[in-house]
Symmetry: C2
């Protein structure tokens, strides 16, 4: 028993050591990401700042009667409205932010935790309702998506069994599982990233292919930066239909993303987390 | 065997029926959310729009020499810059968006999938790097947070065992589990929502308590709308330290949120998803 205790202590030390190493690598990963973003993005930020400052200066030069302070006050109002999701420009989409269709899109992005934030609740009651809605909606969505993933797992398992029956005598089970994961990832990329990106690049007047791919990726990972939103261009025909189709795409895409993750985590050799687990301690 | 097949078919019909009902309720949930948001948010949106339109009209009246078109062009530039995360106002925070500290905050919000989007990559290379960074960073973060949750589960299980030993002879196991979940939820709300909200409300000059609570809630659920960002007010002293402390809070808070969900899903009676599961089909 003392020997067992000793082995256990050693095991705990080992997982704690591995975990500390992982933590250090992780912090380094965050710092190096910050360095790269800072280097890549400082020049375009400066260019944008210079451009808008230049436009303001040119306006002041062209209109010498305008006082510096009056313009500054106006700019402050415009920026404040813009931060609250209201565009002061006349060529904006024309559709109100909180029409029924836009509100439906907002609700969907809250419960999926995408949260683009291109429009956000402004009233106190809107913020309170948003919290309550997310509190109920996120678990409901998780249940829905998990049920969908479970249904999709049936054909996914069939595929694995078929691969095993065809290739089982030639390759190791681990290699067949890798091939299986690779096929699922290919379907994810082809059907839920590259194809929709092509559709968005066609439909959105100002998006190139990279913008569209970036939108799809940032949405399906539920990061949802909100710098690109489909269907918000001025004079977009069929806007409501477009928004509903986009919502459907997002739900399906997130489901398939979850399916891919489930297949990935089901291959123990790829699951880094098992390195730090002391599962006999934590079973309830 | 035919009897077994029959029972199984009936079971599948039942889960499919329940799933369809769930789907209908879910769609109704989305629609009613949309209706409420639309009703609550249309008036403040109109007020904001009226306010900024009024400011523009007043400016044009005060400066009759300014041409409508010249001002419209300026406004368009200002709104465009604002949408790219660059404020044209002179009283903006003064800190560049992509300083090292701000970039670190951005990296953290990408890998946790919060994705506030108050600043976003503008360059093509920045967008490509953002996708690659998320592709590696999100799984790494999931592994880290899961390992932390597993460590936190140890004292959590102790608490449950202690409750069982004290109350086991008085109450049903299910009721003790509910009490246990209730205690964990209380800790989550007290330590990771109400207390940090009080801190933010004190530190941020323009946030009231509801704003702060809304920020904490929207962040820990990883929705991350990005309408409130701590440490971005003008002349914020100790900005880097403040941002780092906020990042630490977000990681810990999301971890505790995941712990609470783990405790919740471990109570089978509360796990709606089991209604639709046909688990014998889907084990790999
Ligand atoms: K977001
Ligand atoms: K998000």
């Amino acid at each position: 028993s003392r020997h067992y205790e000793g082995t256990k202590m050693l095991g705990m030390c080992r997982t704690s050591f591995l975990f500390s190493v992982y933590l250090i690598i992780y912090v380094m990963f965050l710092f190096s990401g910050a360095a790269v973003f800072s280097v890549l993005e400082t020049p375009p930020e400066r260019a944008t700042k210079a451009r808008v400052d230049g436009a303001i200066q040119k306006f002041l030069n062209d209109n010498p009667s305008v006082s510096d302070q009056a313009l500054e006050e106006l700019i402050s109002e415009i920026v404040k409205a813009s931060n609250r999701g209201v565009s002061a420009a006349r060529n904006a989409s024309g559709e109100p932010n909180w029409s029924f269709g836009q509100s439906l899109f907002f609700s969907s992005t809250v419960v999926t935790t995408i949260g683009y934030g291109h429009v956000t609740p402004l009233s106190r009651s809107g913020k309170i309702f948003c919290m309550l809605y997310a509190m109920v909606g996120i678990p409901l969505t998780l249940v829905l998506l998990s049920a969908l993933v479970e249904r999709l797992l049936i054909p996914t398992v069939w595929l694995l069994q078929w691969l095993n029956s065809r290739l089982g005598h030639l390759y190791q089970p681990f290699n067949i599982r890798l091939l299986h994961l690779f096929i699922i990832v290919l379907i994810l990329i082809g059907l839920f990233l590259l194809t929709p990106a092509a559709v968005f690049a066609t439909l959105e007047p100002e998006w190139d292919y990279l913008d569209s791919l970036y939108y799809c990726f940032i949405s399906l990972t539920t990061i949802g930066l909100g710098d690109y939103i489909p269907g918000d261009s001025a004079n977009q025909p069929y806007r409501p239909l477009y928004k509903i189709a986009t919502t459907g795409y997002l739900f399906l895409g997130i489901t398939f993303m979850m399916l891919t993750l489930a297949v990935f985590y089901d291959i123990p050799q790829l699951n880094l987390g098992l390195l730090f687990s002391s599962s006999d301690e934590t079973n309830m």
